[in-house]
């Protein structure tokens, strides 16, 4: 009998991390039309960790969930191709709901699927909030192991090593528990072609957001999105002497 029957893992569709993003000319947001989209890198690590726990017989099934418009199903298929068993797609028009809304929606999914462990990316690389996991853990009154670089499972506990400023911290969490992933946790696999084909036959349940009837508090209003101030053009220096002179006398950043 494995310690965890079900692991729920969450995935978000974001602008691919290699893309140089463009701010829309009306300052309403960042251009996401005709831009390469991928699974949030921290979520890939979350899926990988969940699948590995299943492969090590610590868990019996991995459910992947996403929230957003129809296109998010692609991201869910990627999770299924990596080894998740089935998907849940909470369908809504907004591709980037605020973290508190996401947490409240996931709270309902947890109530329905009763996982013993939820694994999420520590942050999405578009909104950079780093909030969802902590919020969901609060709503569930579960312990949280954020920014995890190592997770080990014992009978009724998890031991989570966390990346903190200046080093590492290890916590012991009683189950059920929530973990958010940091970069060092693992290296996600590439889905093989047979697995991608197989993933097309794995079930995805679609749940319209309206059907969940959750009270969602008024989200923060984004008034403006702008480019950061441009750096002034730099200069090339001829040699080390020139560089040291500029740093000392012009920029005044070395004594």
């Amino acid at each position: 009998m494995s310690a965890l029957e079900t692991i729920l893992v969450t995935v978000k569709r974001v602008v691919d991390y290699t893309i140089h993003i463009r701010v829309k000319s009306d300052n309403s947001g960042v251009e996401t039309q005709n831009v390469k989209m991928s699974m949030n890198p921290f979520d890939e690590i979350a899926v990988e960790e969940a699948v590995r726990l299943k492969e090590k017989k610590h868990a019996q099934q991995v459910i992947a969930a996403t929230i957003g418009p129809a296109a998010c199903q692609e991201t869910l298929r990627t999770a299924l191709a990596m080894g998740a068993d089935r998907g849940i797609h909470v369908v809504c028009d907004d591709p980037s709901l605020p973290a508190l809304h996401i947490a409240k929606i996931l709270q309902q999914l947890v109530a329905k699927e009763k996982p013993q462990l939820v694994i999420m990316g520590k942050q999405a690389i578009d909104s950079d909030n780093n909030q969802c996991g902590q919020m969901l853990a609060a709503l569930l009154d579960w312990p949280q192991g954020t920014f995890a670089s190592e997770v080990s499972v014992s009978d009724k506990h998890l031991e989570v090593t966390r990346e903190i400023d200046g080093g590492l911290e290890t916590l012991r969490l009683s189950l059920p528990a929530l973990v958010t992933t940091d970069l060092r946790l693992n290296t996600p696999r590439f889905a093989s072609l047979p697995n991608i084909m197989q993933a097309k036959r794995k079930p995805i349940e679609q749940i319209p957001l309206e059907s969940l009837s959750i009270a969602l508090p008024k989200p923060p209003t984004t008034l403006k999105v702008e480019e950061p101030p441009a750096r002034k053009a730099g200069v090339m220096v001829a040699d080390v002497d020139d560089l040291v002179d500029k740093l000392r006398n012009e920029a005044k950043v070395i004594p």
């Binding site: 969901l136 853990a137 403006k224 730099g234």
Partner: protein, 313 residues
């Protein structure tokens, strides 16, 4: 601003020393509220509370002292802050790993949206924050009665020291059973400053070619009192440990001087150094994108340049 607005700053400390980030959060809080309290949590708070009380602009220091607050856990800290939250219009903490761990948990308990990583205050409820790793800046308006914020401390100046220390008061805290327990901490034993708060950062990239060659950065770092960082490419190649990684997927740094040695300048790396005041690039490839970003560029073989630099700075 209105007399009725009060702010609570959640302090961080280690080994009896108040972290310098707290004083910068106080600066942000003082821009929002007419009265700023600082909360110190721990098993023994007196020394830290005294340091906090000496900050200019503080009304009171609150001490929550419990044996179970010895090691800050999000579960216990969020519980304590929630108990004190009523009456405050703002709750702020540094956007450190500790703050980022606790603050969203607290926000959800208060049914508030948290606003992460604010870099500027545009109004009582309006904040500027980086998104897409600083490649865009969003101005957001928060509608929650208690606004819960983490502050990017490099964006705010430290508060001054005050001649008249604020009052220190202890606060009652109800006990809580935490389903998380602290096991251990392993802090890296470096005499160098921490990457995210260093005045000078020297980072190496794949151009260094091996982990041994990363040692070449050390003598320069020693002379300049610098922290050492690395590009993701160098980390992926195994030349440098992951906690040295600077960039979108690593640490965001904001030093006065950033030196990129043998780093080509991938978008994801540049995203982590946007707030650096002066960027120096040393690379043998004159086409490297880092030169478009740097204030001072030097085309040359880093194995020749580095020893010369060490001699001359």
């Amino acid at each position: 601003m209105s007399d009725t607005l009060r702010a609570l700053v959640v302090a961080e400390h280690a080994s009896g020393v108040l972290k310098p980030s707290v004083s910068r959060v106080v600066t942000a809080a003082a821009q929002l509220a007419s009265s700023v309290d600082v909360l110190v949590m721990g098993d023994s708070c007196a020394a830290v509370a005294k340091q906090a009380a000496a900050l200019e602009g503080i009304s009171r220091v609150l001490c929550a002292e419990k044996a179970w607050l010895k090691n800050p856990l999000a579960e216990t800290s969020a519980h304590v802050v929630k108990g004190l939250a009523q009456g405050y219009a703002y709750i702020l903490a540094p956007a450190s790993t500790e703050g980022k761990n606790m603050v969203p948990r607290l926000a959800a308990l208060l049914d508030s949206h948290a606003i992460s990583d604010i870099i500027a205050i545009e109004g009582k409820d309006t904040f500027k924050r980086p998104i897409y790793a600083g490649n865009a800046l969003a101005t957001v308006q928060c509608h929650d009665p208690i606004k819960v914020l983490t502050v990017r401390t490099t964006a705010f100046a430290p508060a001054a020291e005050s001649n008249t220390p604020a009052d220190i008061a202890s606060v009652d805290v109800t006990d809580i059973e935490s389903a998380a327990t602290f096991v251990k901490q392993a802090l890296s034993e470096s005499t160098r400053p921490e990457l995210t708060s260093a005045r000078v950062v020297i980072s190496g990239g794949r151009g260094l070619q091996s982990s041994d060659n990363f040692k070449l950065l050390e003598s320069l770092a020693d002379k300049l009192g610098a922290a050492i960082g690395a590009s993701r490419a160098a980390v992926d190649a195994g030349y440098a440990p992951n906690d040295w990684q600077v960039g979108q997927t690593g640490k965001i740094v904001a030093p006065e001087l950033y030196m990129a040695v043998g780093i080509s300048g991938a978008i994801q790396h540049l995203a982590g150094i946007k707030d650096a005041q002066v960027v120096v690039a040393i690379n043998k490839d004159e086409e490297a994108p880092i030169f478009q970003f740097a204030d001072y560029g030097l085309v040359g073989d880093l194995f020749e340049v580095l020893p010369q630099l060490v001699k001359k700075v």
